[in-house]
Amino acid sequence: MMATHMPCIEELLGRGLDVRGERRPVRLILSGDYESQTTVVGHKGPNATMPCYQCKSTKAPSIAHAALDAKYGTLQDVLGPWHLRDADQYAHCVEDVANLGQADHLSVTRAPLVSPHPRQIVPIPVHLTLGINSRELRLAVEVVILCCGHRAGSAFAHELAELLHEEVHVHPVPYHGGLFIGRDCHAIGEHSDAVCAALERELSGLKGEDAAVSRRFLHAYKTAWGLWNRIRKVLNSASIVAAGDAAAFRADVAAFVSGLKGSISWLNVSPKLHLLLAHAPDFLDEFGSIGLYGEQGLEAWHGRYTQTARLYPGESDLASAAAFVRAMALAGDASPAVIGRSAHKRSSAKEGAHLATKAGDKRLRANKPVVPVCDETREKAASERATWADKVFAVAAQTVATYEGRLREHSR
């Protein structure tokens, strides 16, 4: 698909753009989710030996790639340094990788569709938020499984789902793996105290050595939430951040990942965590913002097409898609930025004008009338919560089992 536009993109890069009568070069930046980014640049993907498309770090220490591990390091090395790929890594087309070794092709096995500079690949802020938020919630279940057993872990997963429903008012979606997405991730972050309190209640009955271990886990968990809440805001901020915020972001990210890795020994640094740790601060330093270049606008097109595809019927899906693309090309002339230019500008409200000052204020959720929900919807939501809890518990149990198995192997 991208091949259709390659001549146009090359023309864009070759000729530049006319800005106020002045011809300017184009700085090409690759956006999208992790999978699409690896697809575009010809990378093998997150399961490759070198899963990161910006550096040459291997996935994990292994005997087969011990030399590469020693030379470039692994994703599990949270202290760095990270060896970035060459600037022309994706510019030079790889013709035949069958005769090349891992050190030669560096997990780039296909001709890239677009050849961006490795430093100009956006570190996917939206998907980082989704993935790390989900990882944090799962971490609580893993701690409970490790300290209190599987039965308690399963019960805690369901309790967590109900807690998020009752106190945070978030719901897992039926798609995207049944996870929490979008604003729900930010809402969970804002109510992370409730999650930590629930975990503390669950671990409060332990005694002896288990209690000490659980306290250590609990402290690390609370610290991780606090750091992540600060990271999350800078990561998704669609504006140029200040120098101090950028420096704090780098420090928070390092403390977050290294703290988790140091306290929770079974934690595996995933490619997303590695992106956050190793490359997001660099991108922020270079371009001043990550959220500004993020993939949120791209993801929004899914909802846009889902909602408006019925307005453009055709003989086939292809005809419908063509009508949609034509309409969107025309709609570009009235983008929200254009409309906002002529819109009436409201002055911002006073500080705290929209906050409830009395306990009986009707703006408070507790004082609002209950919105009637039909039984079917309630049952469906309960079912999705139960599904989420089961999935989280299953993955957490597998992680803990793998970790315990590894410990047993070491003990032998």
């Binding site: 800005v19 606008g297 899914h302 097409y305 090309a329 409309i339």
Partner: protein
């Protein structure tokens, strides 16, 4: 009213009730109104259907109708309503006898050939009608002169004695100008009757109230002085409610102003209205949406042309500043044929034909709108590595930089993204220009879909 008059006329002579009943009857003007005219027409039709013989409609009033006192009634009957008695019988002539009877209108007569006798009769009628018109015009002119003289005399007498005195219920110490003595005596009679409570019938009260209004309000005097039996004297003064020289905006105009502001926000126009009087003026362009942007708005909102037309109508039609549906559709056709918006359909999906042109068009639109925002590459101290007003080298080759120009060269930041998902499932590639305030919300330029053919395939496979 007729019943009341018949009853009141039986009252003792000299009583107030008797005097009111004896008031002269003015010419009824009701016969000129639509309802009376239609009623009369129905009666004429009814009588015509009862009697097939030609009857002059204007002459056959029902008995309860007042006399027809308009000037039209004084016209010769043969002009408007030919009557067999007024119009001499037409000798049998070939066409008129075949087409219509002689009593039919002159319209028919003029369209057919006439015999000499009919023609002479028509000429006589025309002459009489013309003479009548001239007489009426002369009479009207004379009446106008008389009224003018009367008004002058009345003004002079008002200067001498501005306020007439009317004594109610007592002896008539009526002091009034001589020219209005007769009218005031009638007024006095009528007021006596009203005060004495002679109005006993509820059904007559509205009519008497109207008569009172006519009598009291038709007076040219600014004051009416009434003296009651108990000696109390009341003076009624005609008072004109004062009006402000300059008035503020009414609440309605305030609402209009607020709505106007919203319309301007919606890309419409500002009204060149008079601020004080609120008189609407002509729409004035104040930087509203162009036709091109209005077309884009229709597609951005996903509304149909008919919905847009209804919205435009609700906002004031052409006064709203929004172009009509036909104008927008013509503009849409023109825009869709431009190379930057051309769409090609391949086996993989629908694509913009020329992405570079589309990007250039969007960048130009941003520059024209003043919304092009400079983006920089920052250094280690978080400071931009180039000045905001830096210029590109004269002999630069953008292609040599391969999408990563030096940080000191002004550039345009563009992201290219690919994503798969949605329902119906599709793959979308999007180009975003970062050089604007909110690129994620607004700058998505190109969307290509690789629509899955599963649904179509399933549909075709079904028997």
């Amino acid at each position: 009213m007729a019943n009341w008059r018949a009853e009141a006329i039986q009252s003792p002579h000299g009583s107030a009730r008797w005097r009111v009943a004896c008031l002269p009857e003015s010419a009824c003007r009701r016969c000129r109104c639509d309802s009376c005219y239609l009623r009369r027409k129905r009666a004429v039709k009814r009588s015509a259907s009862d009697d097939p013989a030609p009857i002059a409609p204007a002459l056959e009033f029902s008995p309860d109708f007042p006399p027809y006192a308009s000037k039209w009634a004084r016209l010769p009957l043969l002009v408007s309503t030919p009557h067999p008695a007024a119009v001499p019988p037409c000798p049998p002539c070939s066409l008129s006898a075949l087409t219509a009877p002689a009593v039919r209108s002159s319209v028919i007569r003029s369209s057919v050939a006439e015999c000499p006798s009919c023609a002479s009769a028509r000429l006589d009628a025309d002459t009489a009608r013309r003479a009548e018109r001239e007489a009426l015009a002369a009479a009207a002119e004379a009446v106008a002169r008389v009224r003018h003289l009367e008004a002058q005399i009345h003004a002079k007498s008002m200067l001498d004695s501005p306020t007439p005195n009317i004594e109610v219920g007592g002896m008539p110490p009526l002091v009034s100008p001589a020219s209005q003595a007769n009218a005031n005596s009638r007024c006095q009679d009528f007021l006596d009757y009203l005060v004495s409570g002679g109005v006993g019938h509820a059904q007559d009260e509205p009519i008497l109230g109207r008569i009172a209004s006519v009598i009291l309000l038709s007076s040219d005097q600014d004051e009416i002085c009434l003296q009651h039996k108990n000696g109390r004297r009341r003076v009624y003064v005609r008072k004109v409610s004062p009006q402000k020289v300059a008035v503020k905006k009414s609440q309605q105009n305030k609402r209009r102003a607020a709505a106007r502001q919203q319309l301007v926000s919606a890309g419409a126009t500002k009204w060149g209205a008079d601020e004080m009087s609120g008189i609407p003026g002509s729409p004035v362009e104040v930087g509203g949406l162009s036709v091109r942007q209005q077309v884009g708005l229709v597609f951005e909102l996903g509304i149909s042309w008919s919905t847009f037309s209804k919205l435009r109508h609700a906002l004031g039609g052409s006064k709203s500043g929004l172009a009509s549906r036909h104008v927008l559709r013509a503009a849409k056709r023109e825009l869709a044929s431009s190379p930057a918006k051309e769409v090609i359909v391949t086996s993989t999906g629908a694509h913009l034909a020329n992405l570079a042109l589309a990007v250039q068009e969007r960048v130009t639109a941003l520059c024209d709108a003043g919304q092009f925002v400079e983006r920089f590459v920052y250094g280690p101290d978080h400071e931009p590595l180039r000045a905001e007003d830096a210029t590109v080298p004269n002999d630069f080759d953008p292609g040599a930089w391969g999408g990563r120009p030096p940080p000191t060269v002004p550039d345009v930041h563009i992201t290219v993204g690919l994503d798969k998902g949605g329902d119906p499932g599709s793959e979308k590639s999007v180009v975003t220009i970062i050089n604007q305030e909110r690129p994620n919300n607004s700058a998505t330029l190109s969307l290509q879909l690789c629509a899955r053919a599963t649904r179509t395939t399933i549909r075709r496979c079904q028997p």
